[in-house]
């Protein structure tokens, strides 16, 4: 699994993905590690099928005791079906996830990790030296959905928003936005159900200062491409299957 350092100052953001060992037929996912000098959180740690590869990659960057927190943006299997295994690896950790999904996510196996139910209006994760903001992104696509914003690093982990269906081994960052649109359009139109929810999110996110927008699938957006994405997404008609 590839690991790319996307922010490296007093704390670090490392993106994991493009796993060549990933079994065929399952969607490629991006996982993120946010690491301070003594704490770390894994954002959308991924499905059960990539657990070994993901944990193996993490241990190049962080010790198991340092991972104190997990975050699941929503309840989907590619986000958190590995929970039963993390529960064995990190018995003292906390899982931050929408309150709406607690009784569903527990089906993945939660005996040791503490579930921290995040209210609809969002919240934050205090890692001591940094505080991450949990931004509401309901109905994008899940009915209880959160994104993570780091005001110091100016990074927004945007879950399925900005996701693209790419061929294996795609680059980490979007270089040509216009040609990237084709890889995103169907995903957003089909998976995102509500124009109202989409525009509400766009208005909220426009108020944030964002250097990097980091989705859970496909390439990341940097610099001007973040604003290009917001403009494109605002204009896009979603929920088109009915």
């Amino acid at each position: 699994m590839k690991a790319v350092n996307i922010y490296d100052k007093r704390h670090q953001w490392i993106m994991f993905g493009r796993d060549p060992e990933k079994p065929e037929g399952i969607i490629d996912t991006n996982q993120y590690l946010v690491k301070t000098h003594d704490r770390a959180i894994v954002l959308d740690p991924g499905g059960i099928e990539i657990f070994s590869s993901m944990l193996g990659s993490l241990l190049h960057h962080v010790s198991i005791d340092q991972i104190t927190d997990l975050f699941a943006s929503h309840q989907d299997p590619d986000i958190i079906s590995s929970l039963g295994l993390w529960d064995q690896a990190l018995p003292k950790a906390k899982l931050h996830s929408p309150w709406l999904w607690e009784s569903f996510i527990r089906h993945f196996g939660l005996n040791n990790i503490e579930y921290v139910p995040v209210p609809d209006e969002g919240g934050n994760v205090d890692l001591g030296s940094i505080k991450l903001e949990l931004i509401p992104a309901h109905y994008l696509h899940s009915s209880g959905n959160l994104h993570v914003y780091d005001p110091q690093a100016k990074i927004l982990m945007s879950g399925d928003v900005g996701a693209a269906l790419e061929s294996p081994g795609a680059d980490m960052f979007v270089d040509d936005f216009d040609s990237h649109v084709d890889k995103m359009k169907m995903f957003h139109q089909r998976w995102m159900p509500s124009n109202k929810a989409k525009n509400d999110w766009v208005n909220r996110v426009r108020k944030l200062e964002i250097e990097i927008m980091a989705p859970q699938h496909g390439r990341l957006f940097k610099g001007d491409n973040v604003q290009r994405f917001l403009d494109w997404f605002e204009a896009l008609e979603v929920g088109v299957a009915v």
């Binding site: 070994s52 944990l55 193996g56 241990l59 960057h61 198991i64 340092q66 039963g84 295994l85 064995q88």
Partner: protein
């Protein structure tokens, strides 16, 4: 080639298989009550029949109680078997991590988690042993009851001979009870076989993991 049934399926199947034993034991209890009523009508002609029916009635009630206990124990056994499988799966995944990331800077930090899983594995195996032995004993109790019931049914036939005009009825009931005993014995035998298979698998897995 026949695929080997997973142990947690075997243990979950025991409850379903033995539910039939409960129904047959219930029928047996009803047949015995009929026999008792006929014996009462027959009076002195079927004097020896009453204690026999009392005995078989008690045994059928006892069998139903044993089946209820087996039901609870087998559900618990299946739960433990599934947990054992999950713990084993976690251990395998962690071993994969140890192999693929052997050069990772923090790989040794995983050791504590692996030790914890290993301990949990041993605890689960001990629970498997405990519940499977309890089930084996309960099934063995039912089998013993049925062996005794067969002897009693033979005796009841001898008693029926003296019951003159009630003989045919009493013999028919004795036949019913005998069929019930045979059905229960067959079902329990099949369940014992299933449990034995599961126990063998666990023993094999345990030895394999211990290597």
């Amino acid at each position: 080639m026949k695929t080997r049934e997973p142990a947690f399926v075997s243990s979950a199947s025991l409850a379903a298989e033995l539910a039939e034993v409960f129904a047959v034991a219930k029928d047996m209890s009803i047949s015995v009550k009929n026999a008792k009523a006929i014996a009462n009508r027959a009076g002195t002609k079927a004097r020896g029949f009453s204690p026999i029916t009392d005995f078989i009635d008690e045994m059928s009630v006892e069998t139903m109680k044993l089946v209820n206990r087996i039901n609870k124990e087998s559900i618990e056994l299946s739960r433990v078997a599934i947990n054992d499988l999950k713990v084993q799966d976690s251990f395998n995944k962690f071993e994969q991590v140890m192999a693929v990331a052997s050069d990772a800077q923090y790989i040794n930090s995983l050791q504590a988690s692996m030790n914890r899983i290993k301990k949990e594995q041993t605890e689960e195996k001990n629970k498997l042993k405990k519940y499977s032995r309890a089930l084996r004993d309960l099934m063995s109790d039912i089998a013993q009851h049925m062996a005794v019931a067969n002897v009693i049914v033979s005796n009841s036939r001898i008693e029926a001979v003296n019951a003159d005009e009630y003989r045919a009825n009493l013999e028919s009931i004795a036949n019913d009870i005998e069929i019930s005993c045979d059905t229960i014995r067959d079902r329990v035998k099949s369940s014992q076989h299933r449990l034995e298979n599961a126990m063998q698998q666990w023993r094999r897995d345990f030895h394999h993991e211990g290597r």
